[in-house]
């Protein structure tokens, strides 16, 4: 069998071999015999229909459960137009814009993505994406290490273990260690941060954090970081930032997060690393930046810029090793934001405040449930206290609902517009399970 995506006829192959003076394709491989392999891996070629059926069979093994899951990966409804527009193959099948003259479409779309993040974060510069929130946090710390003295990164104890692990991997080579600070009622313990900030290159806080709580001490943390000559980095996302104060107002030097809350399904955690930074550090930014310029006709045109920061030019002295990023998903986030518009984003964000508040109130009404654990404004999700949280999680799952168990006596529930209409059933299931 030949590849269905290699369109040569046998005659063409013959002609081409003649042109290069070879008898067979195999002859073209300058590979010592002892290194040749027969290519038998046990994968049968299939026609397209067979592959679709095969994948269908595999994916149908995913249980049909209603997810009330969050903790860094959130589900929002993605309008159909996002697919239709971004699946246009001129976007999908292009690559990094090394030739801006034929790539104005994706450059402008990415410029618009960057612009939206500038508006939402209040910072002067946003890049065209890194991989996800965890790697964005790692990049932020590495940036901080280049511009500030110190050997620690301060992070909240609520930080997702997975993110902390990625962060440690990113910063170890730069000689930094990751130090946690405590939280009280889901908010940063500012005094402890102040005590520990002296050695830090960066102080990190999240709003909302991984327990869904909006951080109320951003200003104080910003001051502490500034006093200690550390950068202040805030983790958030574009939906939350549609209503929250721009982190730059609280002194944030960097904002990171996951922009895949817009434009992408949860997709097993496929992310879009949001990375925005104060203009002062523009030459320290990792990854691609799209800038405006003019072309020879005098019209405004876009291009990748400040590329001397990047690995293909600066090699081991580059600001980052990133090359391929999450551009297409960043464009999807921008298209989704464009479809929602300013008013749609604000409405969506408000829903992320109201739905969890209403659900927490109802759960709190059940004997044996205390919700939310933190009497604080929450976004999309909140923790609830129950007896034997792992059992509650398992029994809810038997009834078709997935929630997080944080530890022995806390579960966490995430609610957005996509699962809000299942909350009645969830509450009923809770009543049965907790009773």
């Amino acid at each position: 069998m030949t590849s269905p995506y290699a369109p040569h006829t046998d005659d063409e192959v013959r002609d081409m071999l003649d042109a290069v003076g070879a008898d067979t394709v195999n002859e073209l491989f300058d590979v010592p015999d002892e290194l040749l392999h027969d290519g038998e891996f046990g994968v049968e070629p299939k026609d397209e229909r067979e592959v679709v059926r095969h994948v269908d069979e595999l994916l149908s093994r995913n249980d049909d459960v209603v997810e009330f899951l969050g903790r860094g990966s959130y589900d929002h409804y993605v309008p159909s137009a996002v697919d239709h527009l971004t699946l246009r193959s001129e976007f999908l099948t292009s690559y990094t814009q090394y030739q801006p003259e034929v790539a104005q479409g994706s450059l402008q779309a990415l410029f618009e993505y960057q612009s939206m993040l500038v508006e939402l974060t209040g910072l002067g510069v946003a890049n065209a994406s890194v991989y996800d929130a965890a790697t964005a946090l790692g990049e932020a710390a590495l940036l901080a290490a280049r511009v500030e003295d110190g050997d620690t990164v301060l992070v909240p104890e609520t930080l997702l273990d997975e993110r902390a692990s990625v962060l440690r991997n990113y910063v170890e080579g730069a000689g930094l260690s990751v130090v946690e600070y405590p939280t009280e009622e889901g908010n940063a313990d500012v005094d402890t941060v102040a005590e520990r900030a002296e050695e830090a290159v960066m102080v990190y806080a999240e709003t909302p954090n991984l327990r869904g709580v909006l951080e109320e001490n951003l200003d104080a943390l910003g001051d502490v970081a500034e006093d200690a000559d550390a950068l202040f980095c805030v983790g958030s996302d574009p939906v939350a930032l549609s209503v929250l104060r721009p982190p730059a107002d609280a002194g944030a030097d960097i904002v990171i997060g996951d922009a895949s809350v817009l434009g992408a399904p949860t997709a097993y955690g496929t992310g879009v690393g949001l990375f925005a930074v104060d203009e002062a550090h523009i030459r320290q930014v990792p990854g691609h930046l799209v800038g405006a310029s003019t072309d020879e006709s005098g019209r405004r045109a876009y291009t990748l810029t400040l590329q001397t920061r990047e690995q293909h030019i600066r090699k081991e002295r580059a600001t980052s090793n990133i090359c391929t990023n999450q551009a297409w998903l960043a464009i999807r986030a921008a298209v989704h934001a464009a479809l929602l518009g300013a008013s749609g984003l604000v409405e969506l964000a408000e829903r992320c405040v109201e739905e969890p508040r209403a659900l927490a109130e109802r759960l709190d009404g059940i004997d044996g449930v205390e919700a939310p654990v933190h009497d604080r404004p929450c976004f999309r999700e909140f923790a609830a206290r129950v007896d034997d949280a792992p059992r509650v999680r398992d029994e809810l799952l038997e009834r078709g609902f997935a929630v997080h168990a944080l530890n022995d006596d806390e579960i966490q529930v995430c609610v957005t517009e996509t699962n809000a209409d299942a909350t009645d059933d969830l509450v009923a299931a809770f009543e049965e399970v907790v009773a």
Binding site: P4, H8, D30, D64, F111, A126, V166, T303, C323, N325
Partner: protein, 471 residues
């Protein structure tokens, strides 16, 4: 210009001093952000575009028309493997049941099954024993591989300080090693464009943690001495890393594991046909030998009697991505492998190498190193490679990668992939050769934008619409 009749015209929507206006120039509003949150947490207003769907649809449709992709025409961008991206895999990725929350495990058996099967396919294809799918791109795979090497050396009480990288290697190799805290030693290539075995022998020491190699290398040459290279590195106590960017050349014909590599990454957006998406997302799974498997990132997937489960490798380096990497890309690559099967994969590398050889033969520029495999690097000689590239744009051909690798003067690194017909290659060759006797410096003319001023962009960085003052 040649007399090639099919000179290209790219769509262009122009409005006096700009092409398609920015969305905020079409429609922008400031809304009050009334919410039920405490005032001190919230912003007062939000200013963003607020266009209705028909306006948004037309905007992005026009932008797409101002963009050149693989479906638009030949895209022989060297080292990037811009092959055709099958459409059906997008439908699979868009399925509802393809998108589950990353904390699910026992209720996501389908997702785990795809992951397990993909890991096994990749392991066999690369001749590796164990594979992690977590790294979200090739560079992330390199970084992961280097972390694994570092952890392995440390487990032997061995702190090594250097990573050796050939001068022809991709920039990410250098940057990934530096990010992991290593000193990078650049190894000059031999006169034949391959690793200079004697120079390598002189460069290795008990400080060598890793030697990173691309094979075929970025000149498209197979490193015939790879077994000897492996011995040299291993004898010094180091490990050998395979940058899988060029695996398309060897698919089903030779395996890094058989060559002596200990660690490799696969580049699913290149070799395994996941689309490049205007820059990403990609996926850079990493394969290792049994000895290194305990150090792989956590969690790993395995098949048990009861189904699939995650587990933490005994001496894991931890995480390199917040969740499981770019799952949608993994799914597309899995479907591609299933579609091709063994025979299709072998045919892919055959046609990719045939195409590169044929095109190299048709191109009038000097190709100083050979024989090529999936790509070749021509030298523009007296001409500026960038000018050649800009001229090629007017022929509806995306130009090669320019000015890299540096050991070729004015390099034009050309990778046609298996997806081009002979006719398309002839057209690419005509575009190439048409620039030979030209001294034009005003190309491109037929693209959406004329030559974009890079200097101005960098001198006066304007990176958002807030920074624009030209209306």
């Amino acid at each position: 210009m040649t007399d090639d009749a099919r000179v290209y015209e790219q769509a262009r929507w122009s409005d006096d001093n700009r092409y398609e206006p920015l969305l905020n120039e079409k429609d922008e509003t400031t809304v009050d952000t009334d919410t039920s949150l405490p005032d001190d947490l919230t912003r007062d207003t939000l200013t963003l575009p607020d266009a209705d769907e028909p306006v948004v649809a037309r905007h992005y449709t026009r932008l797409s028309q101002e963009n050149y992709g693989v479906d638009s025409g030949p895209y022989p961008l060297g080292s990037c493997t811009m092959k055709y991206n099958p459409k059906f895999t997008e439908d699979l990725a868009a399925r509802d049941d393809a998108s589950v929350h990353p904390s699910r495990e026992e209720t996501a058996q389908g997702t785990l099954a795809v992951m397990d099967r993909l890991q096994k396919h990749l392991a066999r294809i690369g001749g590796m024993d164990a594979v992690t799918l977590q790294p979200p791109a090739g560079a992330a795979g390199e970084f992961t591989g280097i972390l694994v090497a570092r952890a392995y050396h440390r487990s032997n009480g061995d702190e090594r300080s250097e990573v050796i990288v050939p001068d022809t290697a991709h920039g990410t190799n250098f940057a990934s090693a530096a990010m992991a805290g290593y000193d990078v030693v650049e190894l000059p290539s031999g006169d034949d464009g391959r690793v200079d075995v004697d120079a390598l022998r002189a460069a290795v020491s008990d400080e060598t943690a890793l030697f990173m190699m691309t094979n075929p290398n970025t000149l498209g040459l197979f490193e015939r001495d790879v077994r000897e290279v492996a011995d040299i590195v291993h004898d010094a106590g180091g490990l050998l890393y395979y940058d899988g960017a060029n695996l398309n050349a060897l698919l089903g014909r030779a395996r890094p594991g058989d060559m002596g590599f200990d660690i490799m990454h696969y580049n699913l957006h290149k070799t395994f046909a996941a689309p490049h998406g205007g820059g990403g997302p990609g996926a850079g799974p990493v394969g290792v030998t049994d000895e290194l498997a305990p150090f792989l990132p956590s969690p790993r997937v395995r098949e048990t009697d009861e189904g699939y489960e995650f587990y933490e490798p005994a001496e894991t380096v931890g995480k390199v991505h917040g969740f499981h990497g770019n799952w949608l890309v993994l799914l597309k690559a899995y479907a591609y492998i299933e579609r091709l099967g063994d025979a299709g994969m072998r045919d892919t590398s055959g046609k990719a190498v045939l195409n590169a050889n044929y095109l190299a033969e048709q191109v009038d520029y000097d190709v100083p190193y050979g024989p090529p495999h999936h790509e070749f690097v021509a030298s523009a000689g007296e001409r500026d490679a960038l000018e050649v590239a800009k001229e090629m744009l007017d022929h509806g051909v995306h130009p090669p990668t320019t000015k890299w690798p540096e050991i070729v003067d004015e390099a034009l690194m050309t990778e046609p992939t298996e997806a081009e017909t002979k006719e398309a290659l002839d057209r690419v060759a005509a575009a190439f050769n048409g620039t030979r006797d030209s001294n034009a410096d005003d190309a491109p003319q037929n693209t959406t934008a004329r030559r974009v001023d890079q200097t101005e962009a960098a001198r006066n960085p304007r990176l958002s619409w807030h920074a624009l003052d030209d209306g």
